[in-house]
């Protein structure tokens, strides 16, 4: 069964979704990611969805769940590269994903994660 690769970059995890998400794939990503956050002791997760044409309500909610779970596991989640059409669809569906941080591209997403991580360290 196909799986979405999760890459480790320093203290962050990088997930780039390149294929059409179906529900089972989304569920397995959610499981893999939480496992990986714990095993890699990650401080942040970056999910790149720039290749996705369609994000339905299920995937939208799954993204929200991933963000909530990661936060419990002490990792920030940033979703990057959402296309305009996808953003409009999600808003029309009433899913504005309030718990998720967003950034325009991977570069800015990484900046955001580093910033959040630095803030947390100074807070400790």
């Amino acid at each position: 069964m196909e799986r979405i690769p999760i890459l480790k970059m320093g203290e962050f995890l990088l997930v780039s979704i390149q294929v059409d998400m179906h529900d089972r794939l989304a569920m397995s990503l959610q499981e893999d990611l939480t496992q990986r956050i714990v095993s890699a002791r990650a401080r942040g997760v970056l999910i790149d969805i720039s290749a996705l044409d369609v994000v339905d309500s299920f995937i939208g909610r799954m993204l929200g769940h991933i963000a909530a779970m990661s936060r419990i596991l002490d990792a920030e989640t940033v979703v990057v590269g959402m296309r305009p059409a996808v953003a409009i669809t999600l808003v029309e569906l009433g899913l504005s994903l309030p718990g998720i941080r967003t950034a325009l591209n991977i570069e800015k997403g990484m900046d955001l994660l580093r910033l959040a991580s630095a803030e947390r360290q100074t807070g400790n």
Partner: protein, 295 residues
């Protein structure tokens, strides 16, 4: 059946063409059409149409102007109604082009001593053609209106790159669902194109903000946020602020500023940029600077 009659009509049209044509043009000239259109053009149009009419009549299908023998006549009327609609003719002026042909035609017919049903047929025919003209005139006017609406829609949603990483979207006029859609799309596309992190939506030019407009604004802000850009709404007039509160619209999740200047200074701070004065202020200009209350 009436092929015989119509061929007679065609023969009359043929024989007395120049007479009918000159009578017709004289009649048209006496109505008000002439001030908007040149004599030569009128002459050409009339001549072409008469030739096409003859062609149609010769086919014998006087009852059906949608049939193929009438293609030429319809085509001439098409282009004529369209151009006249653009030139600002009224529908009746446009239809008069066809209706004024009645008199010269009847005169020509009566001198040939035709029966009553011949008159009846030609009246019906010209009525149909006249109505066709009116319909086309109406249609092309509607097309013009639609085109203008589209142009207004495009004109009214410019996305300005204000500074490095800062976009501005000055909204002018009432926001309805269709316009919000266009605004949202062009803003999001501009965010992708420029990679801007902050967008300022200025609603100084929006006359009223009701719950629907506020909802549209919130949607735009939410969509921009999903893409990773922050939105600031500026240009909120006191009355509008009062309306928003009275309506109970929740704008807590959005940064709002009273003026565009405040929004720009906040956006600059957020992106880590400053605008600096290189010459000292002259004493008369000391106003509206250094307000540091934000977020």
């Amino acid at each position: 059946m009436d092929t015989n009659k119509s061929s007679r009509l065609a023969a009359i049209l043929n024989e007395r063409e120049s007479e009918i044509l000159s009578d017709w043009i004289r009649l048209q000239g006496s109505s008000s059409t002439r001030r908007l259109i040149g004599e030569e053009e009128l002459h050409r149009q009339s001549k072409d149409f008469l030739a096409a009419l003859r062609q149609g009549v010769a086919s014998g299908r006087l009852d059906d102007i949608q049939s193929s023998p009438w293609d030429a006549a319809r085509e001439i009327l098409d282009s004529l109604s369209r151009s006249r609609a653009r030139q600002g003719f009224t529908p009746s002026e446009t239809a008069t082009f066809v209706f004024s042909l009645k008199q010269p035609l009847f005169q020509a017919l009566s001198s040939y001593n035709q029966g009553n049903d011949e008159f009846w047929n030609i009246t019906l025919l010209l009525d149909k053609l006249g109505l066709h003209t009116t319909e086309l005139h109406q249609k092309s006017r509607e097309e013009i209106i639609q085109k203008q609406q589209r142009e207004v829609l495009e004109l009214s949603t410019p996305v300005i790159k204000l500074w490095d990483g800062i976009l501005a979207l000055p909204l002018i006029g009432t926001l309805d669902s269709e316009r919000t859609q266009v605004v949202m799309e062009s803003l999001l596309q501009a965010i992708v194109d420029t990679g801007a992190g902050i967008a300022i939506i200025d609603i100084t030019g929006v006359p009223t903000v009701d719950t629907l407009v506020a909802q549209h604004l919130l949607k735009t802000v939410a969509a921009a946020r999903l893409m990773g850009a922050e939105c600031i709404i500026s240009g909120i007039r006191p009355q509008i602020a009062a309306t928003i509160v009275h309506l109970g619209v929740e704008l807590h999740s959005v940064i709002t500023k009273a003026t565009l200047a405040d929004a720009i200074s906040l956006a600059l701070r957020r992106t880590g940029q400053v605008i600096q004065r290189v010459r000292p202020l002259s004493s008369t200009q000391e106003a509206g600077r250094g307000t540091d209350s934000d977020s």
